[in-house]
Amino acid sequence: MAAWQNLVNFLGPDLARIIVGLVGVLALVQVNALFLVWLERKVAAHIQLRIGPKEVGPFGILQTIVDGIKLVSKELITPRHVDRKLFVLAPIAVFLPVLVSFVVIPFSERLLIRDMNVGLLLIFAFSTFNVLAVLVGGWASNNKYSLLGAVRAVAQNVAYEIPLLLTVLSVVMWSNSLQMSEIVASQSKVWHVFWMPVAALIYLICALAETNRAPFDIPEAESELVAGFHTEYGGMRFALFFLAEYSNMLIVAAVATTLFFGGWKSFPGLGFLPVPGLIWFFAKTYLLIFVAIWVRWTFPRLRFDQLMNFCWKIMIPAALLHLIVYAGIIKLVR
């Protein structure tokens, strides 16, 4: 505590909070990626009646650390015909929204870096840069597979952002706030998922599409596009794309937990257990991520036209209808 006091005295409370918060977020991002890659491989293996990584550490849990060391030690190769400036910039830009989004996510009642009154908006505003980074990376690679992957990523992300934001809008209207902590507080009695199951479903489907995960993984469809937008990237630059992808999974799951599943509050009926909010929050978040992994290894990839038709003809009308119906309900009830 003395060290903490010294730090606060030296930097001032705000700066100390930001620096400590960012260091914490960076640590969380790394640990989360290490864990999720292992979980993904393990779950995939068991779904496919294999065992998965098992040699390095108990249950192979240290496998990703070893892989990470390999990636860090690899040479950064820049192919000859790429656009050098943008090629280097893209992996850095893909990481920016990740860092910003964690600033407003309420991990527990007291553990959040900044409780902004436009917190929810901040996450969606900065998620745009993710799409841009993918596009820049794909374009700068000067490779037809990369460019096709990038084009697909932009088309898909733009399309699925619309129903996503529309459902989030219903939640905002229901809880009457854009502040993440107040949205959680408004679910103290009943989680939003019980009031708006359709919105939760639409959000989760769109979240899968926004994070480019199967069945919506056409931007990096291995069987068609080699590796999509990051075909030309290797070593740590590839690792940054990878890290951002898994951090984005954590972000969309954490936002889903906050919006629909009661944030740091306990599961219904388990409130008597002496478990801190942080544990509840991460339990719910990783449960949602597990569902996403489960979906990925269960459903085949959609074709591009199916994907677009599904969004524009089913998801957007459904989300619009949901918004109108809930606006009516809120107007009648209050």
Partner: protein
């Protein structure tokens, strides 16, 4: 108080941040105009608009800043990129810069600049904090639907024209290819 500590005072940091935001806006604007590669221009525009969002934060309305990012970067710039994808391939040789065109755009740009600076210099500016302390989302929403209703509706008319235009253009393209 030593030198490092005086450098990280909140006021000093705010000054540095403001300078950074302005630099971001101006650099972005320059990149948006000068390079011949159209993708660089769009990325410059994005940098510029991000800087503008930062200026809104300094004006005390983070909500408008977020909306700036969400609408201008997230929607408008992405749709410009879509338009680039649908236009001529980038590896073809660029059309030459024609003097009348450059002159015309320079003239229009200067005219708009003079008009805006005339308006700016004639207005008596009051700090946002003196005019009102309430810039919450609720207040802004009420203003949009009461006092500035006409502006709001006119903007939606522009969007309507854009949508109809997009439908017509894509309709022509489809008819001519099939």
């Amino acid at each position: 108080m030593n030198s490092v500590q005086s450098l990280i005072q909140p006021q000093v940091l705010a000054q540095i941040g403001f300078a950074g935001v302005v630099a971001l806006t101006l650099t972005g604007a320059l990149i948006a105009v000068f390079p011949r590669n159209i993708l660089y221009n769009v990325l410059g525009l994005i940098v510029c608009l991000t800087g503008v969002a930062g200026i809104f934060v300094y004006l005390g309305s983070p909500f408008i800043a977020m909306m700036e990012l969400l609408i201008y970067v997230g929607a408008i710039c992405i749709s410009i990129i879509f338009a680039i994808m649908l236009s001529r391939p980038l590896h073809l040789s660029l059309p030459k810069r024609r003097l009348p065109k450059v002159g015309l755009s320079l003239g229009v740009g200067t005219a708009v600049f003079i008009m805006l600076s005339a308006i700016i210099s004639r207005t008596e500016w009051q700090p946002a904090a003196i005019r009102s302390s309430d810039w919450s989302v609720t207040t802004l929403g009420t203003y949009l639907l009461t006092r500035y209703d006409l502006v709001f509706e006119t903007i939606s008319l522009v969007l309507l024209v854009a949508i109809i235009g997009a439908i017509i253009i894509s309709g022509y393209a489809r008819r001519s290819t099939s």
